[in-house]
Amino acid sequence: MSNSVIIEGPNVAHGIDTGDHHHGHEHHEQHFITKYIFSQDHKVIGKQFLITGIVWAVIGALMSVFFRLQLGFPNETFPIMEKFLGEWAKGGKLSPEFYYALVTMHGTILVFFVLTAGLSGTFANLLIPLQIGARDMASPFMNMLSYWFFFLSSVIMFISLFVQTGPASGGWTTYPPLSALKEASLGSGVGMDLWLISMALFVVSSLLGGLNYISTILNMRTKGMTMTRMPLTIWALLFTAVLGVLSFPVLLSGFVLLIFDRNMGTSFYLSEIFIGGKALPHVGGSPILYQHLFWFLGHPEVYIIMLPGMGMASEVLSNHSRKPIFGYMAMIISLIGITLLAFLVWAHHMFVTGMSPFLGSVFVLLTLLIAVPSAVKVFNWLTTIWRGNIRFTVPMMFALGFVSLFISGGLTGIFLGNSALDIHLHDTYFVIAHFHIVMGVSAFFGMFAGIYHWFPKMFGRFMNNTLGYIHFFLTFAGAYLIFWPMHYEGIAGMPRRYYDYSAWESFKHFDNLNAFISIAAIMVFFAQLIFVVNFFASIFRGRKVTVKNPWGSPTLEWTTEINPGHGNWEGDIPEVHRWPYDYKDDGNGNDFIPQTVPLRPGEEAH
């Protein structure tokens, strides 16, 4: 990172904002603040998203440890919890109010702050300019704003953890009237207002980022980088951004109406309510409206979380198998299919809300349709590793784990998308098991594969392999140990979001299983700390990267210097001549041909 910033020449001017260009004709050392804090370099912004995401992930995971202690051992007390949570865990026993606050915050943090901002924020920023051959994003300034809105949103969400009535506690979906009425729950007080403000800022951040990603991909590809020569990571990140840009505004409108209902006496979501000893004046609203607005984002959100992982797994599987991705066009078409269908399936979260059963039938059909492109992707990944030359590196193992988890979690979606089964499984542990495996752990595996794979590009060093392998096996085994048995609890009808099951004749016999799951969850939590230590220690002490292209990858990011400065390439941006998966003999003993190498005479373009 010692490189001074080199921003000059005709190839650069369109890539950076005029403020920078003004100083462009002189080499200069940037001040620490503009280089690392208010940086407009997409690589630094990517790292900022990643590190903020890691901090949030640790907080969110720690919360799950606390509530798993309550679920697994409802009759025990844990004085250490009082150290962390104070009044909320008096005598080492979590209060029900705070249990629900923890569940809510765990969901919000992991879904939005870690797996949306932390995942696509990191890799869209890092990879888009590097892999398409651009100096930076279309608007580096907007890109910087995107991070700082996210930061602001994070700060507000963090503050909400400390208000007297506690943070929002109505579930991460925050359905009104529960979230709209202060009388309904402690967490619906100030905590909920802060939650809404924080989420509104988050939407702003997400839109600023998403618009930038789309315009960069569409406009700033280097010479020869046609759309069908882009790596699948870029395709995946493009559709991720499209999903976000089209659906986050709908969520924001839902939140704005909720803010009105909470503070200005409107009745968008409220009707015929008697609470706190009196009948409220609201008539004519519908709580179902909120659910439609929420899930119109909420479902595409699942794919916003999944697609980057899919893209990175494709890239990593192909690279470490030394074999082209199978069915490149089919992969793109299935991404398009998933993106389109993602907008048409939201109401499968609402089969039992009293929505019209006919509407329900339509959504059953559309929901199960989405299994087809997903299946195509799985088969293509399997064929990609078939007859490969597989290097069991840490990123490869996470990518293989990603596929395994995606299969396991994807198949249970077929149960829940079918309304006649959902009528029993809805809001049980089956749902928890399903979405944690598929958009929780599987997406995390995609993210880990990406981090281990691109860490050398980010920091010029490798992460430690031994710790990486330990991290992989503990997490992989732990994830299945936690979530596999939950399917059984769900089929037995055990409802989610319960503080204690011991009073229920139908569910209390799962007490031993709950304790087992809690122990596994705590184990997995500590396994993640291995990753965190590995990550931060390797930034400063990891083995140094000595060659430009340590993985032997044909894509453009590995043609830059080991520690590229702002502007990415010294001199001209390389020209692209072939697709990104040419893993074949180059005639010099290498098993791949970089995208920058022109076609040999007589060689057919893919």
């Binding site: 015929e272 009948a279 293509n380 399997l382 299969i407 009808g493 083995r543």
Partner: protein, 353 residues
């Protein structure tokens, strides 16, 4: 302080782990990277395969440990169809699960990198891709067909002869209203709710309300083999009537009336025999997060024969009678078996039977 120390201690442990791991990296370099990498590759490929074997055994162990903890046979006719559909879906997805996972782990192990191996350049094959687009599409179409057939049945209009019961959720318990002798639930209005004497806001100007019975203990009495249509509502936030043993579920939404119907087929007494659990009871669970008491929002269902039901109902007093007893002091509210003195029109249905 001790919390802080614990954190410091955990931090130290991780630093030590990192240092050990780092040392192994140096030794790798010393002993020849190429050779070590080959060995690591072999052992990781083997471990990965062993993971699969252990996982498959784990699935069997898990199944054996949990299969006797599952729900008993379905207690409703809808539930029987649900169970068979669940089984079909399990078989279809189970087959896909085993095949794809086996291929994944086997390919990974089989095609691990060796010194001699080169990969096979195989970028696409239209025939293969056509096959595995069509096959899942057909499988999905079959599952959709089964699902929609059941869904249409479950959400169809209830039979004419079904009994009607209203279930209303509030933080944090269930209120059950029976229509009484006339079989009609009277009007209610949330503005008339009073926790002291009109818990559901029954409109007393509606004569149909006079004989309505409200069970505040959340006991839902049903008659075996008689269809029941539940009219579901909520007083405050969204709740959900979850009937796991009947495989049914429906949200209770303030401002909206939702419904579901089914036919209970096994009495509570019979189910006690089937499960061999003398404490067995059908439970109503709230399945939609509704606040701090969500986990304790419990109701019960008692499925009984027509005679038992009639006998139980005969003992119930209408909600009107219970709460307006002072207005008609002659009616002995406590003793429901005594014939009430009928003084006025509005009191003519003071008590049941």
């Amino acid at each position: 302080m001790s919390g802080f120390l614990t954190i410091v201690l955990i931090g130290l442990v991780f630093v030590i782990i990192y240092q050990i791991a780092k040392a192994s990296e140096y030794s790798t370099v010393l002993r020849g990277e190429e050779k070590i990498n080959r060995r690591v590759n072999r052992s990781m490929a083997l471990l990965f395969l062993l993971f699969f074997v252990a996982g498959m055994i784990g699935i069997v162990v898990c199944h054996n440990a949990l299969s006797d903890k599952m729900l008993p046979v379905s207690a409703s006719d809808h539930g029987v169809r649900y169970d068979s559909m669940l089984f079909t879906t399990l078989v279809v997805t189970g087959i896909v699960f085993v095949i794809t996972q086996t291929l994944l782990f086997w390919f990974a192990f089989r095609y691990q990198s060796t010194e001699k191996r080169t990969s096979f350049f195989f970028p696409h094959n239209n025939k293969l891709e056509l096959v595995w687009t069509t096959v899942p599409a057909i499988a999905m179409a079959c599952l959709v067909a089964i699902g929609l057939r059941n869904w249409v049945r479950e959400t169809s209009a209830p039979p004419k002869d079904s009994m009607v019961v209203e279930v209303v959720g509030k933080q944090f318990n269930w209120l059950i209203r029976y229509p009484g002798k006339d079989g009609v639930l009277g009007k209610r209005d949330f503005r008339k709710i009073d926790d002291a004497n009109n818990i559901l806001g029954l409109d007393w100007s509606d004569k149909d309300n006079m004989d309505d019975v409200i069970a505040q203990n959340g006991e839902l009495h049903l008659v075996v083999n008689k269809p029941v249509s539940l009219i579901i509502g909520s007083r405050d936030v969204i709740h959900d009537v979850g009937l796991a043993h009947f495989r049914m579920k429906m949200d209770a939404v303030p401002g909206i009336v939702t419904t579901m119907w089914f036919t209970p087929t096994i009495t509570s007494a019979k189910m006690k025999e089937i499960t061999g659990n003398k404490d067995f009871v059908y439970e109503i669970s709230c399945d939609q997060m509704c606040g701090k008491g969500h986990y304790s929002m419990r109701g019960t269902v008692i499925v009984e024969t027509q005679e038992e039901y009639d006998a139980w109902m005969a003992k119930q007093q209408s909600y009107y009678a219970l709460n307006n007893a002072p207005a008609t002091p002659a009616a002995p509210a406590a003793d429901s078996s005594a014939a009430p003195v009928q003084k006025t029109d509005s009191a003519k249905v003071l008590t049941m039977k």
